[in-house]
Amino acid sequence: METPLTTEHKPPARAGGTEGNFYPLRKNGIGPGMNLRIQRLRKLSVETEPSLSIERALIETEFYKENLGKYSVPEMRARTFLEICKNKTIYIGADELIVGERGPTPKAVPTFPELTCHSVEDFHVLRSREQQRYAICQEDIDTYAREVIPFWKGRTQRERIFQHVPSAWKAAYEAGLFTEFMEQRAPGHTALDGKIYQKGLLDFKQEIADHLARLDYLNDPEATDKADQLKAMVLSCDAAILFAERHADLAEKMAEEEKNPDRVQELRKIATVCRWVPAHAPRTFWEAIQMYWFVHLGTITELNGWDAMNPGHFDQHLAPFFEKEMAEGALTRDEAKELLSCFWIKVNNHPAPPKVGITARESGTYNDFTNINIGGITADGADGVSGVSYLLLEVAEELHILQPGNSVHISSKTPNRFLHTACKVIRQGHGFPSVFNPDIYVLELLRQGKTLQDAREGGCSGCIEVGAFGKEAFLLTGYLNVPKILEVTLHNGIDPLTGKVAGIATGDPCGFQTFEALYSAFRKQLNFVIDQKIQVSNYIDKMFAKYAPAPFLSVVIDDCIAKGRDYYDEGPRYNTSYIQCTGLGTITDSLAALKKHVFEEKTCSMEVLLDALAHNFEGKESLRQRIRNNTPFFGNDDAYADDIAKRIYEDLLDAIDGKPNIKTGGKYHLNMLSTTCHVYFGKVTGATPNGRLAGKSISDGTSPSHGADTHGPSAVLKSLTKIDQVRSGGTLLNQRFLPSLLQRDPDISKLASLIRTYFTLGGHHIQFNVVDTATLRAAQACPEDYKDLMVRMAGYSDYFNDMNEDLQQEIIDRTENESF
């Protein structure tokens, strides 16, 4: 029996500035709500300041200095990983049940100089900037400058990449037409399937050995490369097992010195668990969670892949262990919840590795985007909701911490009870869970060529991008600033902000006699920019395949072992590259404004409009207001605007979808994610024809522009589902609701119906911010009183106070759906 979540909605019963625990504590200290152990662990995790650890870089650099040139590239990477696992500080904190940290202590983030080497100046910026600060002491900076920086100069992945990019790419990149994900972090964006709960690393080693033994050096020209890769995989398994053994050793030692007999028992248990997993397949709920956590840590220690790592359908993987032990009486619900809470806090202990340079502006968050998929459907198409699903929602609600992100997956088979429970968590206003539609994303994945079973095992990693869990590299390559492409088109290939060439000449805009002439110029520009982007993405892909393989990650993703190839080198069964197109609302509204006022009604000439844009509408407020109040905008169920959105979407598909990447059978697909990049893109884009002022955020994901949707959420959903979302790899819709719209339980079922309707119409994803403007403004004024106010960005949640002012303003500007 699950304890139901609160049915009566009370605003969080916490004074401003306090943390956690909605529920009064029971005498025995266990649920509902956090017990004392979880409260202490949570407090430590929340209050510890993120810091930088140079330990990994020192171990790695020393190893490279001694061994450079001795081994094949994959083996060198695996041996480096082994060296780190052998020598890094092992941490087991007081109260912990699930163990393991990437750094020497919670929230200590290592650096990855082999990819991008932070400079002394970077460290000073990171430790002193206002938001997303990372502490590092002067002594460590000095050591880094002495031991690490000189060695990696000229040897980093980032330098290799920038040596080769063509000037047209650089011009477009510097103008802010797109970003590039892989210049700083390794490709990741992956999630696991259920195999690590069936097999231990020793089983994987055996499998690898079998493939090594079968290599055909007589006929297979790649046999030697495969051997190098497979040997590296074996070494990486040894590394992860060794890492776990060292935890077992430490736990045993701590048990000997521990005075509290209860803790002695726990430490012995930890030791037993760490001796068993990840070497063997887990036997219990506890071992299953620890198994995942060691694999997670292995992949994020080996490299700093994007989106950290994702367990995929965690509830489905854990349910068999949970149900078996519950039936046997070996596990109670509270114990299961406590273990899940320990895991949750572990993820929160791992802030994103900090970036440098221009991309530091694009994603301002500690969130590293691990996303727990809850509910959904199973590989054989059945409803995936279990007792563990409800437990995960409870843990998410009670802990309400930054990480991990979490999402509920609502198929037509998902019971209403689960959806309603999720809506009640949404009502708490932390910005999670986000809501996904498996019925649509299974179709998306099938369309991309996955088998039905693999598609059903898929879901979302990170924000809203989908892939086949455990079998696919689905790489986000970077964001595309679609409104900026129009801006460059309206200036015949020049970026008006800098006067530099950013695209190609597509004709003097004042010479366009019809909207069609303008549109075809825009389309030409669009295709040019996307081709620039793809060229370099292909090149970077190859760089990773050649110089930065990830043998440990390759062990757990099918079919890297069978193919004898790395995760970055075509090893996975499926290989997708996504380009994330941002600003659908802004571009649609801008084109609608041009079409209506310049070409159809001719109330404003192109010259006058361009002049107004150049002067950021100064002295042209009347024109700006006329556009804003008398143009059909996207998000109102109005065919005039929605048809333009459809057309842009089709042309984005046309420019991206199905283009080959460098991997056999691998293709580019369209994604409509923005994360926080719409704010960065807004900064580098001048005033737009829809009346948006220069520097203001462009629209996020596939959401309407701020304030453009005036007919309520149902009209927004209608507009959104006019675009054929199945042909994307994910769309993103933000909705902001006033708390008064979700006050009572009948309101919850209406929200649930709204979600169901969106999904029936073909929606991929929707997420909600349930917070009023007054609260947001109050939080800006008195950040101390709103330390735990979390809001939904585009694709993940973040602390409002951790956001810079631009991001905060962007949230406030979102259309607020009020009670009618």
């Binding site: 009347s622 309101d747 309707t757």
Partner: protein
């Protein structure tokens, strides 16, 4: 072609009946309640609304007016209502929508097209259309046609009425209505007349007759301290509702909000909320208890 005068249409209306609804607001009402949330709903004519805070002084309206009825003053645009013909040229010219006309004629067909945009939400949530106002019964011939058109399409129909109409009209509407939201304000006829401008005899009689037909009815009562939240009125109201034929009714209590003042301003009307206040939490709870004593379920909110 028959038309109805409509001043607003709200989508995702979730407090006007079951499920997700579309609420259609008719213009014109025989009552003139002092607390009315939608003062623009009272007149059954098109009205001009002006928001000084939206006006940027562009004077497009002044130039557009064929009757020279508008002047820009330090307090914004002033309209000479004797010269104004309500042609709407100023509203069309205004870049910021500071000037808007409230009310437009809609045909049955036109309205059905709008309603049909939302049917999937109705289907998924058990929702439908709510006809409100103003007083929808003032447009009963048009209303009946729309109700029939909705009925043919299987759309759930709710009518929100103050009940001040000829009984025959109400019964004609009731034949094609799935749920009534029936507003009760005050039991004392003198006070009722004072606060709403009309006698309540016809309203109470109509409610009894309507209840007799067996059509589902939810009673809605605005709770206004200083007007109707006193124990005596509540007790009389509860008695009356409890005595109605048919099943026990659900009563929705809607605490007063002084939100209408801006709208009065836009209409160029004076608004004096004197003597009207929102009853506090404890008073609301006392009122709920009175209804519960009579065996009635009372809910705060719509």
């Amino acid at each position: 072609m028959r038309t109805g005068l409509i001043f607003d249409i709200k989508r995702y209306a979730i407090h006007d009946g079951p499920g997700i609804r579309m609420t259609i607001f008719f213009k014109g009402c025989p009552l003139s309640c002092a607390w009315c949330h939608n003062p623009e709903s009272q007149s059954s004519r098109v009205q001009k609304m002006y928001s000084a805070n939206k006006c940027i002084g562009a004077q497009d309206c002044v130039r557009a007016c064929p009757h020279q009825a508008l002047t820009l003053t330090p307090n914004g645009i002033v309209t000479d209502m004797d010269a104004c013909q309500l042609c709407g040229a100023c509203a069309r010219a205004c870049p910021t929508k500071a000037i808007e006309l409230s009310g437009h004629e809609e045909t049955v067909e036109g309205l059905m097209k709008i309603i049909e945009r939302e049917t999937i939400f109705f289907d998924q949530s058990g929702g439908g259309v709510t006809f409100s106002g103003g007083e929808p019964l003032m447009h009963y011939k048009f209303l009946v046609e729309v109700l029939d058109a909705c009925g043919k399409r299987g759309i759930h129909r709710t009518v929100d009425t103050a009940g001040f109409s000829k009984t025959g009209i109400l019964l004609e509407v009731a034949k094609r209505t799935d749920l009534f939201l029936f507003d009760l304000k005050l039991m004392d006829p003198v006070k009722h007349k004072k606060w709403t401008g009309v006698d309540n005899e016809k309203i109470l009689k109509n409610l009894e007759v309507l209840a007799e037909t067996g059509v589902p009815i939810q009673i809605r009562i605005p709770l206004i301290k200083g007007v109707n939240s006193d124990a005596e009125n509540i007790r009389q109201t509860a008695d009356f509702i409890a005595r109605l034929p048919g099943e026990k009714r659900v009563v929705n209590l809607l605490p007063y909000h002084p939100i209408a003042s801006r709208k009065h301003e836009k209409l160029g009307q004076l608004y004096s909320p004197e003597g009207m206040e929102k009853p506090d939490e404890s008073e609301q709870q006392r009122i709920v208890a009175i209804f519960e004593e009579k065996g009635l379920q009372a809910i705060i909110g719509g």
